[in-house]
Amino acid sequence: MTQPVLSVRNLRVEFPTRRARLVAIDDVSFDILPGEVLGMVGESGAGKSVTGTAIVGLIEPPGRIAGGEIFLSGVRIDNLDPPAMRRIRGKRIGMVFQDPLTSLDPLYRIGEQLTETIATHSDLRGAALRERAIALLSEVGIPAPAHRFDNYPHQFSGGMRQRVVLALALAADPELVIADEPTTALDVSVQAQIIELMKRLARRHRAAILLITHDMGVIAEAADRVAVMYAGRIVEIGPVRDVVSAPLHPYTRGLMGSIPKLDGGLDRLVQIPGSMPRLTAIPPGCPFHPRCPRVFAPCPMHRPELRPHAKAQVACWLYHPAPSAQSEKPATLAGPP
């Protein structure tokens, strides 16, 4: 069996707040193989970005990894000291943060920031360094990069900044790329270009990619597998085709139903009723049960684990024998919820 590039085991992340302990990530496990793109979707605030930040060891204190293990190509990295982790970040793991502006220094020119990053992780210097930086900018679709090399971040449009951040993350040919919403501010054509770039990176360099995005279209096109998060847990994970065309978890089904359609017109969008629970007070049992249209006896009482069903894994009592309420389990699900 091939060794996964990234292996996350029973990860738990907590943020102590004055009144309570906020559990942002609860018992999350997944692998990403070489050359694989794992998409990650889920409710806003579900813990997608925190998962990414935990992997690169940048959880902001007093927040902390309260349990679990993270392996990079078989070597445990969640317990490394800060200098060792710094060496891995940027070199072996490239990260695109959700807020592109925060990863760019407003006082330095785009070209300076890029050449500095490349110089830290390679032997390139002088003209070759500049050339490599310009090549990277053009790879992420910045038009006429040589012209814009000496611009400051504020002179770039939102989407252009986002692409610069991506160029920074790819600068060192990392083996793992964590891309948090890398295409949100991009129009469809640049988006296609970025997706192509990431797929190429995965294929050619056998890099593993964790692609966090709200855009199901992007997931459908770029990802091999997709993980769906809700209230700090993975509620469904499986091959992209299966999850998109036949979602199992009622939350995933709701999510698919709220996607605006091109032929939709000016009608109201379908929304999942209610909102995600506060992470300081996650309901017992299945965290989705207060909003779930299919809730039944075991849901408020027992927490469903992520278990295989068909080609995917799902954490929902509809698909697994429930502890004491097996009789109420319907055999199959028909139609959308």
């Binding site: 806003s44 054509s189 640049v190 909102s275």
Partner: protein, 336 residues
Amino acid sequence: MTVAPAAPLVRAENLGRIFDVSSPWLTRVLEGLPRQVVVAVADMSFEIARKETLALVGESGSGKSTVAKMVVGLVPPTTGEVFIDAMPMHGRRRGAERRRLRRRIQMVFQDPYASLNPRWRALDIVAEPIRAFQLAASRPETAARVGELLRLVGLDPADGGKYPHQFSGGQRQRIAIARALASEPAFVVCDEPTSALDVSVQAQILNLMRDLQDRFGLTYLFISHNLAVVRHMAHRIGVMYLGRLVEIAAADALFRAPRHPYTRMLLDAVPDLEMSGRQRKPVEGEVPDPVDPPKGCSFHPRCPFADDRCKTERPALVAWNAAGPVACHAVEEGRI
């Protein structure tokens, strides 16, 4: 009272904006580089009626955010003027008028994190416009209003004491939206308001924006790269390419029968969720350099219908028929 034809709430007249992006003086001298300017926006004229949503779509870097910032008065135009209720936005005017105008216009920025003060708690951020414009009589009334606004955008008022960095990206965007709504504006400019949100929260926010429009008669300038979102929100759509409007049409007409070749390409490039049937066609060709834009029609290097006229003469934005204005020689000549 006679019923006059409703005057538009927003009118942009020949808006243009140029940015200097030259390299530093020394580099320029040493490497013999010329001064460089980006024509971010050129010659944009449009109107937005009361209670209407006008959407702007177009490639990254085509000038959408710059238009938005000129419309709300954050970036001065190089040419042209924006009128809100016939009042010039950038011309000289007295403090009181400017204040009144400012309260009625709000903007939700593309980058929610950069637009929220990191040292303020969420509830202070949302309360700021209420205090600044004295919209509540007392502290408890302000607090109640803030709570109501947070709930409106799907946040728990109990989280109001947290700072921006303690929220997720989508939660921050909702704080920005709550703040924009706090001053009870008449006109809201939304620059990618939901691109940081998951689809179910996005649906909530978009439905909310529509409800507010119905209830309070809000007018929106709505910028998004997501055409499906635009489809759900906009009455009319303006398509921008390299700083210029190339087509403007009623939303259903634009989706049913896009006319400008760029609009057609844009619609063809939408990712297909079903991953079946329709093949996603990427928009072809290189994105042009805004510092050195192509002559004639700026779209001609990528356009399948371009001929010699397109390479030399810039097409004007003209309504060739009832469907609305298009800037394209091929459309004018009836070739497409």
